[in-house]
């Protein structure tokens, strides 16, 4: 297991370094002026812009800029935002926990919901329930995340007033709430954005889980379990599901990019102050340091997700041996 983890870790480091390098080169090659990143900044004269470029070293040759960035990165320095005049590390430090909360909640919710639907479909294979749930998951799977988010916002936020429509906390009351009150407040704000992300991915998990479980339920070791007189519940949950979890867990690990990409849209729609929104704003503002740093963080999260999925598969399915 340790050897496997070390190999995967080394691979992850190389992958993340490649992601950072490619992002750095792409953002610098992309057309656009970083010092004119927002319409309001057009107030700046060409002289002011030139001085800003010098201040941030953008007047230097690209290889020199890359060398400086790599040197700073090696010492843990991510640079400063051109727009926000803040250290990039501080900006990401505030945004990452919010994205992890949103993405983590959505991942767990989608996994649980997807597993439940998948299992139900498998045990009712080719029944009306299976058909109906199959159609429902197909519809959810086809829905764009941003569209689903807007519909949930309109129905459950604006019309029914069940949940807040935007933000992470209530504007007026936040300072007067107790810690528990704040936690509840955040949880209420989390429902709609997390549901937008989770529902679509739950459909994917359900479809995978159903196929895997249907295949498992036909396997010889399951027939043997039934022959030993185990109840159907024990056969499905203790034996078949354990063996059929591997594809879904692998998929859960691979879905980290989905949650990161989805968070760009969902965080913008719901005004959730996370990494996706930071990246979205930075891309349009050509805020090079922030863009490159978000690529770095996303790369690390994706690599970590894959690694965790491999470990989870090994734990769930004793037939898998990672060190081979």
């Amino acid at each position: 297991m340790l050897g496997f983890a070390a190999r995967r870790l080394a691979f992850a480091v190389v992958s993340v370094a490649a992601v950072v390098l490619i992002t750095f080169l792409l953002v610098h090659a992309a057309p656009g002026e970083p010092m004119l990143g927002t319409p309001e900044r057009t107030l700046a004269s060409p002289e002011t812009i030139a001085r800003q470029r010098t201040l941030f070293g953008l007047d230097r040759p690209l290889p020199e800029q890359l060398f400086r960035y790599a040197r700073n990165l090696a010492s843990g320095e991510l640079g400063e935002s051109f727009v926000l005049h803040r250290p990039v590390a501080a900006i990401l430090g505030e945004a990452i926990p919010n994205t992890l909360l949103l993405g983590g909640t959505a991942l767990v919710a989608s996994l649980l919901l997807g597993l439940a639907i998948g299992v139900l479909q498998a045990v009712r294979y080719r029944s009306r329930t299976d058909t109906l749930l199959g159609a429902a998951t197909l519809v959810l799977y086809s829905v764009p995340v941003f569209w689903l988010g807007l519909v949930l916002l309109l129905v459950f936020g604006e019309k029914l007033h069940w949940f807040p429509v935007a933000g992470m906390t209530s504007a007026a009351l936040r300072e007067s709430l107790s810690p528990l009150g704040r936690a509840i407040d955040v949880a209420r704000h989390l429902v709609l954005p997390a549901a937008s992300l989770a529902l679509v991915q739950a459909a994917v998990f359900a479809r995978f889980q159903r196929s895997a479980l249907v295949e498992c339920l036909d396997a010889a070791y399951i027939r043997a379990a039934r022959a030993r007189g185990l109840t159907e519940r024990a056969v499905v949950l203790r034996h078949a599901l354990r063996g059929a979890l591997a594809p879904t867990l692998t998929l859960a690990g691979l879905s980290v990019p989905y949650f990161l990409a989805g968070s760009v849209l969902v965080e913008s729609i719901f005004g959730w102050p996370g990494l996706g929104r930071v990246a979205y704003d930075a891309i349009f503002a050509r805020d090079y340091n922030v863009i490159t740093a978000t690529a770095l963080v996303s790369g690390v999260l994706v690599a970590a997700g894959n690694l965790l999925a491999d470990v989870a598969v090994a734990i769930a399915d004793p037939r898998v041996r990672l060190d081979r």
Partner: protein, 510 residues
């Protein structure tokens, strides 16, 4: 009052703040020496009301002496002094601070503290808008809190994210990407503001921000820019639209360095072929004005009497025929001088209305036999192309300040923002004369002649100036809006009825 805004602030320090939210917030934290009244008269002293300066005088044509209000205090208790004013001028002009507002202070030679409450502004030359330039561009900063910070680090200093001001509101908190909270300064020397707390909620998506408004989670928005969202707010209860003139206009600017735009008659023909009224009504409905020139209804020079080219497709066709651009090319399009009459219009993808207008104009020009290709570009890319002269025509919008002198920023030779490289001595003579006029009555006809000249020369086709609509909760009364700064009069706004709603019950009070 909870204000929904689509963008977070950058910093809260006036010399270096460049985004709208940051400007709106810092405007309430830091005062000017004097403020423009609602009429936005930038020429006469009567157009200003005292703020930090209790009074001012003009001892000679190159000097204005301000007498500070002795009651004015920084929110840490220190008095606001003449030394703060002189220090502020130094900060705005400092090259290391790199304030985008520095060019607007170029006519001021020096600012000198004569005693703790008297400060003299010395100008390089006489002109009628001296008071405007001395007061409008600078918000006074606390020397005792900033003089130890190197100018180059001012924007990144902790003070810029948690400032101590002298305005009607105090800084309370800023959660990046989420919200900024200000509390009323109950001891403000000009009287306690009517609203206890102002909270800016950052909601990037416009439709969501409007939903916040309609669901009661927010109380106000500076402007609802999209027609569809305006109609949602119009039908809602608890919110009303407050119209006010916008400080910007949109125009198609021709690159005068490139043919066929080097020819004045070609430019005039294209301008006359554009039915601006149809474009404006199709895209905005009733929510915009057809532009009378390079101005907006916010400026006192706006007038229907300004000379404009008519919508006249027959005259336009004749002009093109006379200049050798005749029909007969592929598909009946015009050609001449060995080339088809066609050009590419750059349009920013960030502006849905300009993209819609471009499509209508494309059809109108096609009927004249002119091929206009539309190239949508991301905002930063389009800015880069226009700044470097790499374009045929660009669909731009310009935010202007209350002074008509802003006309020179975009249309005078040598100005960095004159992207089409327009240069005309008659226009320059008219604007120079207007700048010298002593009163608004003298200046107005000259500025309008200059705008008329600009229309005649057609370096651009001035298309529309949107009519801004703020959305304000019906629980707020005494609401007035100054077009250049929508919260300039917020200290006078009041909550009608004493009981806070469910949302605000338990909220802290100053």
């Amino acid at each position: 009052m909870v204000i929904a805004t689509t963008g977070d602030a950058d910093v809260l320090l006036p010399p270096v703040t460049t985004v709208t939210s940051g400007i709106n917030v810092s405007d309430l934290l830091f005062c000017r020496l004097a403020e423009l009244k609602l009429g936005l008269n930038t020429v006469d002293d009567s157009g200003f009301r005292p703020v930090l300066a209790r009074s001012w005088e003009h001892p000679d044509s190159l000097t204005i002496v301000f007498h500070l209000d002795p009651r004015a205090r920084w929110q840490d208790g220190a008095p606001v002094t003449a030394a703060d004013v002189a220090f502020t001028f130094g900060i705005y002009r400092d090259r290391e601070v790199n304030s985008p507002l520095a060019p607007f202070l170029a006519a001021i030679d020096s600012v000198t503290a004569r005693d703790s409450l008297t400060v003299a502004f010395r100008f390089r030359r006489w002109y009628p808008e001296q008071l405007y330039d001395a007061t409008y561009h600078m918000r006074i900063l606390p020397r005792h809190l900033l003089d130890t910070i190197p100018p180059v680090r001012l924007a990144t200093a902790p003070f810029s994210r948690a400032p101590v001001g002298d305005g009607p509101y105090r800084f309370v908190s800023w959660t990046a990407g989420s919200q900024i909270v200000l509390g009323a300064d109950t001891a403000w020397f000009l009287g306690r503001p009517g609203l206890d707390r102002l909270i800016w909620r950052v909601t990037p998506e416009l439709a969501t921000a409007v939903s916040e408004l309609l669901s009661g989670e927010a109380d106000a928005m500076e402007v609802i820019p999209a027609r569809g969202q305006l109609e949602r707010v119009e039908q809602a209860k608890g919110v009303r639209l407050v119209p006010y003139p916008s400080p910007f206009y949109a125009a198609i600017v021709f690159n005068l360095r490139r043919p066929p735009f080097t020819n004045r008659d070609v430019r005039r023909a294209l301008a006359m072929a554009m039915d601006r009224e149809t474009v404006v009504r199709s895209v905005f409905g009733p929510f915009a004005e057809v532009a009378v020139g390079a101005t907006s209804p916010m400026q006192w020079i706006w007038s229907d009497s300004i000379r404009q080219l008519p919508f006249d497709t027959v005259a336009a066709a004749r002009l093109l025929d006379d200049r050798g651009w005749r029909r007969g090319g592929a598909g009946g399009m015009r050609a001449g001088h060995g080339a088809p009459l066609r050009f590419t219009l750059l349009v920013p993808t960030s502006s849905q209305v300009r993209q819609q207008a471009a499509v209508i104009l494309q059809d109108e020009l096609r009927r004249l036999g002119v091929e206009m290709r539309i190239q949508p570009l991301e905002f930063t890319v389009m800015e880069r192309r226009t700044q470097t002269g790499d374009f045929d025509a660009a669909f731009i919008s310009r935010t202007i300040d209350p002074s008509p002198a802003s006309l020179l920023q975009w249309w005078s030779p040598g100005a960095g923002d004159n992207i089409g490289r327009y240069a005309d001595t008659a226009f320059q003579s008219l604007t120079a004369a207007a700048m010298r006029a002593r009163t608004r009555a003298e200046a107005a006809p000259l500025w309008r002649q200059a705008l008329g000249r600009l229309n005649d020369e057609a370096p651009a086709v001035f298309l529309f100036s949107p009519r801004n609509n703020a959305a304000i909760g019906t629980q707020f009364g005494n609401v007035t809006i100054r077009p250049d700064s929508w919260l300039a009069t917020v200290t006078e706004w009041r909550v009608i009825g004493a009981q806070p709603g469910t949302r605000d019950r338990g909220a802290p009070r100053p």
